[in-house]
């Protein structure tokens, strides 16, 4: 970690300067699994530096949408652009290099049980045959960012749920991704641990400005993300002045597979949509 609290960016892997185009574009995307559509005619985009929070109750297709973003699932209809490339019909082999530019945090962490924390975090680097000394250094940096340096040699089974999520965040960050996807990163965690995870997401947003999409059904997490900023001097998350929100953090909301809201926090709380009102209340 450097003096600003940022996760260090290795020189040889600096993310390319983002062009003006959006990082992700969904156009009329639909998908179904042996039944009614899980996602129906969904369109939205993620701009460079933007953090989008996808809200909705359980079972509306939030995780499915997230998996569509990096091609883990294929849509039945519509088009998905990732870094400007159409991926909805891209062969799996061509998707692998594209996915290495995306960091993804899964709902339960999805750490590899048979590997230590070091090997989990370094998984991509090990596949790329990076020298061991460099791997160890970068893993320690990533673990320091999530404040779990002491877990270096432990196995995932000996970690708590919150620690597993933080290790998963370290794994997603180690290769300095150009897009971050968080699948319910605070699901099933106690409020204190949830705030720790959200603080890490705020830190990554404000220090590295990596565009991201966070799926959650917890309104309080979404509001904390929007109402707080990371203060590098204090090394922690602080609330924004009353009435201010982070301009780069915007919201999406799904209802039964359809996108019913796309806008800022201010627009969300003023929305007249009955489902949005019910969800907020």
């Amino acid at each position: 970690m450097n003096e600003t609290g940022a996760y260090p960016q290795p020189d040889q892997e600096q993310a390319p300067v983002a062009d003006a185009g959006p990082v992700v574009v969904f156009s009329n995307v639909s998908i179904a699994f042996d039944g009614p559509p899980v996602l129906d005619d969904v369109s939205f985009s993620i701009a460079p530096g933007e953090t989008r929070v996808l809200l909705g109750p359980a079972g509306v297709g939030k995780s499915v949408l997230l998996k569509l973003v990096n091609g883990l699932l294929r849509p039945d209809q519509g088009s998905i652009l990732l870094f400007g490339e159409e991926i909805s019909h891209m062969p799996e082999q061509q998707l692998f290099p594209l996915r290495t530019r995306v960091g993804m945090v899964f709902q339960e962490g999805a750490l590899f049980d048979s590997l230590t924390v070091r090997d989990n975090v370094a998984y991509q680097l090990i596949q790329e045959q990076v020298p061991d000394a460099e791997i160890n250094q970068r893993v320690r940096d990533a673990l320091r960012f999530v404040e779990l340096e002491e877990t270096f040699d432990l196995y995932p089974a000996s970690l708590s749920g919150g620690m597993r999520r933080r290790v998963a965040i370290a794994r997603a960050l180690i290769r300095t991704p150009e897009l971050l996807l968080y699948d319910s990163p605070t699901g099933g965690l106690d409020p204190l641990t949830s705030t720790t995870i959200i603080e890490l997401i705020v830190k990554e947003r404000d220090v590295s400005h990596t565009p991201s999409l966070m799926v959650t059904h917890r309104l309080q997490d979404a509001f904390i993300l929007c109402n707080h900023r990371f203060d590098p001097e204090q090394g922690r998350m602080v609330p924004l002045p009353k009435g201010e929100t982070d301009p780069a953090t915007t919201f999406l909301m799904l209802e039964n597979g359809r996108l019913i809201f796309d806008g800022t926090l201010h627009e969300l709380v003023k929305s007249k949509n009955p489902f949005v009102r019910e969800f907020l209340e």
Partner: protein
């Protein structure tokens, strides 16, 4: 309603066969295309090969012993107990060694592959691997298939040797016959085509049991209950296919190498 059910079942079977064919073909072609994960191959070779030695040795010894007991009882009626060695060695090498090793190893390893990969699927570890830019088929499936084919070949040789040894022990200590005569008969009537038959089969059986185990593991759905279901299906289908393919292979090999 009944017709719809039949149609749905038929479509499901055709789809499964299609999925397996594509899966097996991709896994097979990956054997010849880099990257090849050699460390994973060695780990799997250790688990599958050395881990299965005890069951293969015990099965081989017992089967050879039973063959010697049964054949001696029948052959004595014709005064031909001297050919016990020939009977045991030919049966073990051409048929029982490969098929019993295949079925025993499939019980142990097809189930283990299906449950291990199935658990990884339901805990999203496979998706995480794909998201990290690594092909699970190359990383997890291909090393298992290559290791199973290689190790089943050697395990079959171990099984054959143990079967002949088991038959010899029964012949000497229980049937009270001449051990040298048993070994001479076992050795002298063995031809190269018999050995080729016995060593070609484990290559196919190894491919079948590992690809079926991995296939059912990778298509697991439905949480932990689904893992159990995949494990059962893997063992059942691997065993059934091994026996069925053995029939086809025997027919082909007997055509290629007709008995004298």
């Amino acid at each position: 309603m009944a017709i719809q059910t039949i149609e749905k079942t038929a479509k499901s079977i055709v789809l499964t066969v299609q999925d397996y064919s594509l899966f097996a073909w991709r896994a097979f072609t990956n054997l010849y295309r880099p990257p090849i994960y050699w460390p994973d191959f060695l780990v799997q070779a250790d688990i599958i090969g050395f881990g299965s030695i005890s069951i293969v040795v015990l099965t081989g010894l017992s089967t050879g012993g039973v063959l010697a007991l049964q054949s001696a009882a029948t052959l004595s009626a014709f005064g031909a107990t001297a050919v016990t060695g020939q009977f045991v060695s030919l049966t073990m090498i051409r048929e029982l060694g490969p098929i019993l090793t295949g079925v025993m190893v499939s019980g142990r390893n097809a189930s283990s592959m299906a449950s291990e990969l199935g658990s990884m699927v339901v805990t999203e570890q496979i998706d995480a691997m794909r998201a990290l830019g690594v092909d699970p088929l190359r990383k997890l499936v291909t090393p298992r298939i290559a290791a199973t084919i290689t190790m089943l070949f050697f395990l079959t040789i171990v099984s054959d040797a143990c079967g002949i040894a088991g038959g010899g022990l029964v012949t000497v200590f229980m049937n009270h016959q001449n051990g040298t005569q048993y070994l001479n008969m076992a050795w002298e009537h063995l031809r190269y085509p018999d050995i080729i038959q016995g060593l070609v089969k484990p290559l196919f059986f190894g491919y079948i049991l590992s690809s079926i185990g991995c296939f059912y593991g990778m298509r697991t759905t439905g949480g932990t209950q689904g893992v159990g279901r995949s494990t059962i299906q893997a063992v059942v289908w691997a065993s059934v296919l091994i026996i069925f393919v053995d029939f086809l292979l025997t027919q082909v090999l007997l055509t290629l190498f007709p008995p004298l």
